[in-house]
């Protein structure tokens, strides 16, 4: 490739008009979503269709739907951006997102499905016979749900503004919010199952096809990676102009991380706090290791505790199907997660100019920008690829938002209305309430989403994971495997873990925002930046900063310890029929213990 082509590359995208291909593919995704929503709305008749898709979703469909729901805007666009920005350390995100499912499979999926509760608050009340506990669990579902919704909404606003340059950010949020709310209100869980399943395949197609074309043109994954020289490499990196099939690399700008730091473990992501404290690389290394461990725990345990994922296990017809579904989910999302880092690696070599900006104007849009290179080279083919990636981005935030909307709406319609406000309501009344709640939650999500343009997608998702890891995961894990748990123990552990994690991540994000603002002001007035009290404290105590930024390392054990200690202290309140509950959680469904348990509980009423 010659210099003219480089100039063309540099001029790509920001000032382009609306590409008809991008517009067409995005429009098709939206129209198909609405059409499928209407179609399945016709078959969603009973309340069970609305809440758990009639519990009749086949393994293949359910696995595709869970995967579709799970692969959010952060997965589709954010991971590529993070790998481009931080290199090796960011690889932990996709790997742990995908492999966290194993924990769910090993310890939680089967028992939860066997118990036959409806939602997580149902499980909380069913396991502990405590309506108060249901209320606490509902609050957590709504809280984690809204926390996780905001970045999806941001993805919608950013992508739409990218497709239609000049379109205000909030319009994208409103359009996507309205489409999905309509779908959920019309068809509930059953309505969105098909939509999410199809959206998984759209995303898979949208991430894999462009990457294969790009690798064909610009060289493979390993080849592009080999251009980054690690400290252990003896030969200098090959920087060369290349023809078709050859890897090439543009010179890296000042702001880009250096090769050795980028390709090796313990790079910019995990050493930030230690660097700010002025530690030497050798001193920083143990802290980076600690950061990595904490990050791994947060994502792996957080995956097993996300309410919108857990609710899907109730849509399996039996426990064995729940396990098979999880197996397929791991395969489907595992295959998917191999691709976004490839975008990051190619982006570093081909679009280093993105390092100049941050967030959605910088590396975060590498997935949308890379196919544009093909458009510059091959015309229409590239436009088609760009169209496909945009369709994938649409599918990403739409499907995740659908799932969140269903789980939050279920919490309101089933747990708050159906259990707390009007326990005597009929299934029809609850179904009607489901529709109204969907509109309410959808409205609130759009409102919140329109306010978060300045925040970082991945960071917010990370926070949601850390909170889920320290609250729901210990609750579910301990409730399923330890019969000595009491309501007080469970609630104390869950609340302390969750609130500590929340407090810490909030504290670090506030200090980050403060540092960012004051640094910008200092730069403007040409003075040296003086850290405020909080940031000065972090600089002096890098270990504390890491433990606050990634609290899972201590918050998860804290929650579990509190659960054990408080439960032991209140062991008199262990539910009387705990053996039966444990049998329902663990005995093979063929033994019919669940039916017996239900009959026993219904007995006096009949």
């Amino acid at each position: 490739m010659n210099l003219t082509a480089f100039h063309l590359l540099a001029a790509a995208a920001p000032d382009k008009g609306i590409d008809p291909w991008i517009l067409a593919f995005s429009a098709i995704t939206v129209v198909v979503t609405i059409w499928m929503g209407f179609r399945s709305a016709k078959s969603s008749k009973s309340a069970s269709d609305f809440f758990v898709a009639g519990r009749s979703v086949s393994v293949g469909w359910n696995a595709s739907a869970i995967s579709g729901e799970y692969l959010s805007a952060a997965s589709f666009m954010g991971i590529a951006g993070m790998v481009m920005l931080s290199g090796y350390d960011a690889l932990w995100y996709p790997v742990c997102y995908a492999c966290g499912y194993l924990f769910l499979l090993l310890f939680i999926a089967g028992p939860l499905r066997r118990f036959g509760a409806y939602t997580i608050p149902d499980f909380a009340e069913g396991r502990y016979d405590s309506p108060v506990f249901r209320k606490i669990a509902v609050c957590f579902v709504l809280f984690i749900g809204f926390f996780y919704t905001m970045p999806q909404m941001k993805g919608a606003g950013v992508t739409l503004a990218y497709i239609f340059p000049g379109l205000p950010y909030w319009v994208g949020v409103l359009v996507v919010g309205a489409v999905i709310t309509l779908n959920v209100a019309l068809g509930g869980m059953k309505g969105i199952t098909l939509v999410q399943a199809v959206q998984y395949w759209i995303k898979m197609f949208a991430i894999s096809v462009p990457i294969f074309v790009l690798m064909f043109v610009y060289g493979g994954y390993g080849k592009n990676l080999s251009l980054n020289q690690s400290a252990a490499d003896s030969a200098p990196a090959i920087i060369q102009a290349a023809d078709s099939g050859e890897a090439l690399r543009k010179p890296l700008p000042e702001k880009a991380p250096k090769d050795e730091a980028w390709i090796a473990p313990f790079g910019p992501l995990t050493t930030k706090a230690a660097k700010a404290a002025g530690l030497t690389p050798e001193e920083a290394k143990p802290l980076s290791l600690l950061y990595t461990f904490s990050l791994i725990i947060a994502i792996v345990c957080g995956t097993a505790g996300l309410p919108h994922i857990l609710v899907r296990f109730y849509t399996n017809p039996d426990g064995i199907a729940a396990k098979r579904t999880t197996m397929w989910v791991m395969i489907l999302i595992g295959v998917f997660y191999v691709f976004p880092p490839v975008f990051g690696v190619l982006g570093r070599n081909l679009l280093p100019e993105l390092y100049a900006a941050t967030g959605s104007k910088g590396p975060d849009k590498v997935v949308l920008e890379l196919p544009v290179l093909i458009a510059r080279k091959y015309g229409t083919l590239g436009s088609v690829l760009s169209g496909i990636t945009c369709a994938g981005a649409f599918a990403a935030f739409m499907s995740t938002f659908s799932g969140l909307l269903v789980s939050m709406t279920s919490a309101l319609a089933h747990d708050v209305y159906g259990r707390m406000i009007r326990p005597q309501s009929s299934p029809e009344q609850r179904m009607r309430m489901f529709k109204w709640c969907a509109v309410l939650v959808g409205g609130v999500s759009v409102l919140l989403g329109s306010k978060v343009e300045q925040l970082d997608i991945n960071f917010m998702v990370g926070q949601a994971f850390a909170i889920a890891a320290a609250s729901y995961f210990p609750l579910l894990f301990m409730s399923v495997w330890w019969r000595g748990m009491t309501t007080t123990g469970a609630a104390t552990g869950m609340l302390s873990g969750g609130l500590c994690a929340l407090a810490c991540v909030t504290l670090t994000s506030i200090s980050d925002i403060m540092a960012k603002t004051s640094k910008a002001a200092a730069e403007l007035s040409n003075v040296t930046w003086e850290p405020d009290a909080l940031n000065a404290f972090w600089i002096g105590h890098p270990l504390l900063r890491i433990l606050a930024e990634q609290p899972a390392l201590w918050a998860v054990p804290l929650a579990i310890t509190l659960m054990i200690v408080v439960s032991k202290a209140t062991r008199k309140t262990i539910p009387a029929d705990i053996r039966m509950k444990m049998l329902v959680l663990h005995a093979p469904e063929a033994l019919g213990l669940k039916q017996e348990y239900i009959q026993e509980h219904q007995g006096p009423a009949h």
Partner: protein, 132 residues
Amino acid sequence: MVLDGKRPAPCFHESFPPLSGETHIPMSDPTHDHTDFIHSEEFLQGLMSRQLKLSIACATAFIVLLFGLPLMNYLAPELMAKRVGGFTLTWLILGVLFFPYVWVIAKWFIVRSIALEEAEVQVAAEGNKRKP
């Protein structure tokens, strides 16, 4: 059974009947006499410990790689930076090979746990015969 006069524990099937596709072989005592084998402490403990052992064995295989990889990066950086087809060894393991490794663990767990469930049903049937 009434739980101290509290509202019965919620169960999905309170409002909705079980699906027609759900097959149950009712092996527990239809009169809900909780003295038979499958309601015994012995059965429950055996059941939970066998399941937990399997889960922990699989989790250990997972955790060894999950926490072992950062540790190897820390202890043997040169080895982990060796190039394999353009990748550094650690990048190849984390970015590509980790996924199939986890699939193998998951597959093994599912096969074993389904076999375990079948065996449990057998144990329950035999136990009930022994202890009428």
